[in-house]
């Protein structure tokens, strides 16, 4: 059991509403507020992506609901190809043509982008470790800023690729092949 989980369980023992059934209304209300905050915090902290998002929000790098939906430059060519295939699939679908070839092509692209997603996750993990190290080492503001910038970029790239993969999945499901 990691430290985060241990801390979460420890606090759950203290704060959970079940421990306050026989107390007055004010205490019950407080227990409800605090245990819900505890659960919210644990939900964010145990998920590496949500955790980075939260860090960036705290540091004022990112505002909720505002993120870039621009294709990362190095992916432009592949994204272009993918979108073309998706268009072809849609056309073929409405024309009732054979979808097997297109579907196979899309599946390969989906796999390719899925791997890229893993790469981004790994890079994000490294950057997050760098952030922790920078804090421990009391690094300069500009160094820290640079890491946050990098994390923000990675997060944008991640959400972009994820949307792509989800879009392909949806089309493939619709094609039912």
């Amino acid at each position: 059991m990691d430290g985060l989980e241990q801390k979460f369980l420890q606090l759950s023992w203290k704060l959970h509403p079940d421990n306050f059934v026989n107390t007055d209304e004010r205490e019950r209300e407080l227990s409800l507020q605090r245990s819900s905050r505890l659960n919210d915090a644990y939900r964010v902290l145990r998920n590496p992506v949500a955790r980075v998002e939260y860090l960036l929000e705290l540091e004022g790098m990112r505002k909720e609901g505002e993120h870039q939906q621009q294709a990362p430059p190095e992916l432009l060519e592949e994204v272009f190809e993918l979108n073309e295939s998706l268009d072809e699939l849609r056309e073929a679908k409405s024309a009732g043509a054979n979808l097997a070839n297109l579907a196979a092509k899309l599946r390969a692209a989906e796999k390719n982008f899925g791997e890229k997603l893993h790469e981004v996750d790994a890079e994000m993990k490294t950057a997050a470790q760098q952030w922790d190290a920078a804090l421990d080492a009391n690094a300069s503001e500009s160094d820290r800023e640079a890491i946050l910038q990098r994390l923000n970029e990675l997060l944008n790239r991640r959400s972009y690729i994820r949307n792509l993969v989800a879009g392909v999945e949806k089309e493939l499901q619709g094609a039912s092949c």
């Binding site: 420890q10 409800l32 819900s36």
Partner: protein, 613 residues
Amino acid sequence: MGRIVGIDLGTTNSLVAYLDARTGQPRCIPGPYGSTLCPSVVSLDPDASIIVGEAARRRLLTQPERTIYSVKRLMGRGPADVQSELQLFPFRIDPNSNHVIRVMLGDKMFTPPEISAFILRELRNWAESYLGETVDRAVITVPAYFNDAQRQATKDAGRIAGLEVLRLVNEPTAAALAYGLHETQRGHVAVYDLGGGTFDISILKLISTGEGDIYQVLSTNGDTHLGGDDIDNLLQAFVHERIRETEDLDFSPHGELAQDLRKSLIAAKHELSEKESVTLRFILPNGKTFVHNFSRADFEALVQNVVNRTMGPVKQALADAHLAPSAIEEVVLVGGTTRTPLIRRTVQEFFGRKPHTELNPDEVVALGAAVQANILERGVSNMLLLDVTPLSLGIETYGGAVSKIIPRNSTIPASAQEQYTTGVDNQTGIDIHVLQGERELAKDCRSLARFTLKVSPAPAGLPRIEVAFLIDANGILQVAAKDMRTGQQHSIEVQPSYGINDTEIERMLEESIEYAEQDFAERQLIEARTESEAILGATTKALANPQSAEIAATERSNIEAAIAALKQSAAGTDYKLIRKCIDVLNHTTEHLAELLMNSAVSTALAGRKLAEV
């Protein structure tokens, strides 16, 4: 304060359980018919009294228009939601129902929580007469998959029945508690619960900590329309089809016969859990006997589809918990339908281990509710239950899309804060629509509530209001709003999309007490009449006894007068008067009884030697 009990408010049957202090084990409480299962059936007698359970179940055939079953299917749902149910269930729904369904029993209308409250009140009576104590608080179980409105409706039913609902516990979680797995096991547990009408799967993690054991629900999934009833429907459709083919006979106009057939099919289904084959015999309206030989293999081929449909949610729950089937250390089976060998086999093959079946699968949920009730009663415990919300909570955004603010399978209580502002100058209100579900568009999700935040006129973008959405430990939504500029708490009226408001609940509670009083009077009357019949019978018999010739003429005429008075009172409805007349007759016949007793003793002794006595 009275005792806390655990209640399984089921689709088909309901049960009440308590923790036996002597053994430390939970136990289900039997009702007047000796069974711990109270059929979830409610009937409105023509004399306006309410009948619940086995007695009501017997009226399903004789008074179908005054009797309702499976009301759980209507809990927290709107008229549009239940159209598909109406194909399968003969609910008589008031066509003028808008946000809350009203069901007609005879010529009276009731909401589903009111009907559930009658069942809860009956179980409360069972518990009070069994325990000899007041019962005013309860832990009630709900399917893990129940949404906010369904949970709220269940809580409302408790309130209408005069019970404070301390906690709604998910049925699968209750089952794990009943098995007390935390005492012997660590690791991951899957609870597979296939009941009469619903299917639930939950993945739990059992953790030991310094303070005690924690049941953490990692994920939950299911299908609100999957269960033993589907198997019965399949069997029935299959047999109806056979009868139509071989006898050219349509069963649809034969409501009562169809019910009888369904009963024999259910019995056959149960038998097939033990035997390899059964022969179904059924007398048809044309006088012929329909005979069909069911082998277990035929049966399994027929229900394979139902069993397969459970596996989708099972896989989804595992995926949500990030676990492979092999990572599950214990599997628990719940619900009567899991007695089916095909289901046991399928579950065992999927998880690669033998599931727990030691406890009665019909009782296990109620037993777990009693364990939780006991934990809450004691206040402090070495066991803690961390449950999750089964559905994502979202808010409708511009263009009818949904923005998810609390994802499904979040540990509850859970909350989310959203900030709102105005889009045009002097805007006085912001409309907020809260939804529950996994789909992307608001129209595909379930509407929980709509409300308008009132804003004082100001330039666009200046007002800042923070709305806090909170899902409590029962899985029920609470909403609060705060004006960020003034720091003042903002009052909001949340009108639930498919719920009853507080005023209506108060009214229903009052009416329900009236019914309860009527109920009580009704029972007293029935008992008094039964007793009067018994004593009238005995007295008539005594007067016919030759020995009674010994009594004086005045005594005889006194007795006859008392008999006449009792007969007259028993024809009325005043049970207190009947009791009084019974007492008078008892008193008047004391001498006669003594006389007959003595002669009975001498008759018994006659012809015997003293030594034999």
